[in-house]
C-alpha cells in the first residue's frame, strides 16, 4: 500500500493495465466491501456487491478522469449506486442489524470486552438505522477518512449540505449511544446490586 500512487494507478488502469487494476482491487476491495456491509448488514452480500462495483468500474474506467487522487471516491460513488440499485431491485431494506462475522476486540478484562462488544453491536445497529445518505457520509467521513469536499463529490452535493447531514447523523448516533449507555449502566448496577 505504501507504493500505491493513485494518479499513476488511475492512468495505468485506464489502459487496462492488469497490474494497476490488481493494485486498485487490493487497495479498495475491503473498503468497498465494508461500505457495502454497513449499508446491508450482510457480509456475503457485501462480497457480491463489492465484486459488482469493481466490474462496473472496469467497464467505465476508460471514461474516468482523475482530478488528483479521486479514484477512491469514484469507486465509492459506484458503490453507492450499486447498493442503491440492489435495494431497488430487491425492494428490501437492511433489517439485519448485525452479521455473525462481527468480532469482539481482544481485551483482558471480561467486563470491558462485553462492553466493547456491545458497543460495536450498537454501533452497527445505529448505522443501519440511519438514512442511506447519512450512513454513507458517516462511513466515508469517519471510517474511510475522506474530507467533506470529497464526500460531497461522491454524493454529488454541496459541502454545506454534507456538513448538515453529517451533523444530523452524529446527533442521531449520539442519542442512540446515550440510550444504550444508560441501559448498559443499569444492567451493570443491577448485576453488582
Amino acid at each position: 500500500m505504501a507504493d500505491f500512487d493513485p494518479l499513476d494507478i488511475a492512468s495505468r488502469a485506464r489502459a487496462y493495465d492488469p497490474e494497476a487494476l490488481a493494485a486498485l482491487f487490493d487497495a479498495f476491495f475491503e473498503k468497498i466491501r465494508r461500505f457495502a456491509y454497513f449499508h446491508t448488514g450482510d457480509a456475503h452480500l457485501a462480497d457480491d456487491l463489492a465484486s459488482e462495483v469493481f466490474s462496473q468500474a472496469l467497464e467505465s474506467i476508460g471514461k474516468f478522469t482523475d482530478r488528483g487522487g479521486t479514484i477512491g471516491p469514484w469507486l465509492f460513488g459506484i458503490a453507492r449506486n450499486v447498493v442503491a440499485a440492489h435495494f431497488r431491485s430487491t425492494g428490501a431494506r437492511p433489517t439485519v442489524p448485525l452479521d455473525e462475522t462481527a468480532r469482539a476486540p481482544d481485551s483482558d478484562c471480561p467486563e470491558e470486552r462485553a462492553l466493547l462488544k456491545l458497543s460495536h453491536e450498537e454501533l452497527y445497529q445505529a448505522l443501519l438505522a440511519l438514512p442511506d445518505e447519512q450512513r454513507t457520509i458517516v462511513v466515508l467521513r469517519f471510517i474511510e477518512g475522506y474530507d467533506v469536499k470529497t464526500v460531497a463529490r461522491v454524493l454529488d452535493k454541496r459541502p454545506g449540505a454534507v456538513r448538515t447531514q453529517q451533523h444530523r447523523a452524529i446527533m442521531s448516533l449520539r442519542k442512540q449511544f446515550a440510550g444504550k449507555e444508560e441501559e448498559g449502566h443499569d444492567e451493570e448496577t443491577a448485576s453488582f446490586g
Partner: protein
C-alpha cells in the same frame, strides 16, 4: 463562549465517533472469498483488455505495420503447436487402444491418415498389418463377449485384405507375391486362433463348431478349386476371415463360451499380434490352405517360382520370409 464550547463538543463527538467507528470497521473480518473474487476480477480485466485491443489492421496497411502482426503470428503459431501436441498425444495414447476404448476411434483415424500418406507398396504392407491388428482386436472382442464389435472388425479385416489385394494387383510380381503370402499367413493364423478357441469348448459344442468350421474351410477350398479365385487366391482368403470372425453367430458357439475361452484367444490373438507361424501346433486342416495357396498360386503366378527358388536356396534375392513359410512352400 457558548458557541466555542459547542464547536469543541461537536469536535469531540466527531473524534469519539470516528474512533468508535474505526474500531468497528477494523473488527470487521476480511472476506474469505477475496482471492476468488480477485481472480474473477482479473479474468474480467483480461477479457476487457482483449476487447479494447486495436481492431485488426486492414490489408493495405499490414505491410507497414508488421510490428503489430507479430503478436498475431505468435498466437497462430501457439494455436497450431497446441493442436499438434494434442493430436500427437492422442495418436500415441491411442496406439494400444482396443475396441470399446474412447481412443479407439482416434486410433482408426490415425491409421486412415497414415494409409493416405503411404506409397503403393507400403500401403499394401500397411493394409495387411492393419488386417492383422483387426484380428487381434477380434480376439480381444471375442474374449470379452463384445458381440456388437465382432462383425464390424471381421468386415474391416476383410476390407483391408481386399484393398491390399487391389493395391497389390498394380504392383510388380515380386511385391504382389509377397503381399499375397502375407495375406495367406494372416488367414492361417486366424484359423489357428479359432481352432484353439474351439479346443477349450465343452465336447458337444466343440464337435458342432468343429464340423461347422471344417465345412467352411471345405467350401472355401471348393471355391478355390472351381477357379473362382483371383490372383494368389486372395478372394478365397478374404471370406475365410469372415466365417471365423462371425463364429459367435453360430448358435452352438455363441451360447457356449467357456470361462477359459478368454485366455486361449488372448494368448493367440493379443499376445502375438505379429504372425509367428507355429507349424507343430497347426492341425492338418490348417496346414492345408497353406499348401494350397502356394501350390495353386504357383500354377497361376510366376512369383511362386521365385518362392520355390528361394525354398531351394538358389534365389537371387531372398525376401524376408520366415522359416516356416519356406517349409510350407516346400
Amino acid at each position: 463562549m457558548r458557541k466555542q464550547q459547542a464547536s469543541v463538543d461537536a469536535a469531540c463527538d466527531e473524534m469519539a465517533l470516528a474512533g468508535t467507528l474505526r474500531d468497528a470497521a477494523d473488527s470487521f473480518p476480511p472476506s474469505e472469498r477475496t482471492a476468488i473474487l480477485r481472480s474473477s476480477f482479473l479474468s474480467k480485466v483480461a477479457v476487457r483488455r482483449l476487447q479494447a485491443a486495436p481492431a485488426p489492421i486492414k490489408s493495405e496497411s499490414r505491410k507497414r505495420a508488421t510490428g503489430r502482426l507479430v503478436p498475431a503470428f505468435y498466437g497462430v503459431a501457439i494455436a497450431l503447436a497446441a493442436i499438434a501436441v494434442i493430436t500427437m498425444s492422442l495418436s500415441f495414447a491411442s496406439v494400444r487402444a482396443m475396441p470399446g476404448s474412447p481412443l479407439y476411434s482416434v486410433k482408426r483415424t490415425v491409421e486412415r491418415v497414415q494409409l493416405s500418406l503411404l506409397g503403393r507398396t507400403e500401403k499394401v504392407n500397411a493394409l495387411l498389418k492393419q488386417a492383422n491388428k483387426r484380428m487381434g482386436e477380434l480376439g480381444y472382442a471375442t474374449s470379452r463377449g463384445m458381440d456388437s464389435w465382432l462383425y464390424s472388425l471381421a468386415s474391416d479385416a476383410e476390407e483391408d485384405i481386399a484393398e491390399a489385394k487391389h493395391e497389390a494387383s498394380s504392383l510388380g510380381k515380386t511385391e504382389a507375391g509377397r503381399a499375397v503370402i502375407e495375406a495367406g499367413d494372416i488367414v492361417i493364423e486366424h484359423e489357428k486362433a479359432v481352432r484353439q478357441s474351439v479346443q477349450s469348448l465343452p465336447v458337444r459344442e466343440r464337435e458342432s463348431v468343429q464340423r461347422w468350421l471344417d465345412r467352411e474351410v471345405q467350401e472355401r477350398e471348393n471355391e478355390q478349386n472351381n477357379g473362382l479365385t483371383g490372383p494368389g487366391g486372395m478372394e478365397e482368403t478374404a471370406p475365410a476371415v469372415a466365417p471365423g470372425a462371425r463364429e459367435p453367430e453360430h448358435p452352438a458357439e455363441a451360447d457356449a463360451r467357456p470361462a477359459n475361452h478368454e485366455q486361449s484367444v488372448s494368448e493367440t490373438a493379443l499376445e502375438q499380434p505379429r504372425i509367428e507361424p507355429v507349424e507343430a501346433e497347426l492341425t492338418s486342416e490348417v496346414k492345408a490352405p497353406a499348401r494350397e495357396i502356394t501350390t495353386r498360386s504357383g500354377d497361376t503366378h510366376t512369383w511362386s517360382d521365385e518362392s520355390d527358388d528361394r525354398a531351394r536356396g538358389d534365389a537371387p534375392e531372398a525376401p524376408s520370409r520366415s522359416t516356416s513359410e519356406t517349409e510350407r512352400a516346400d
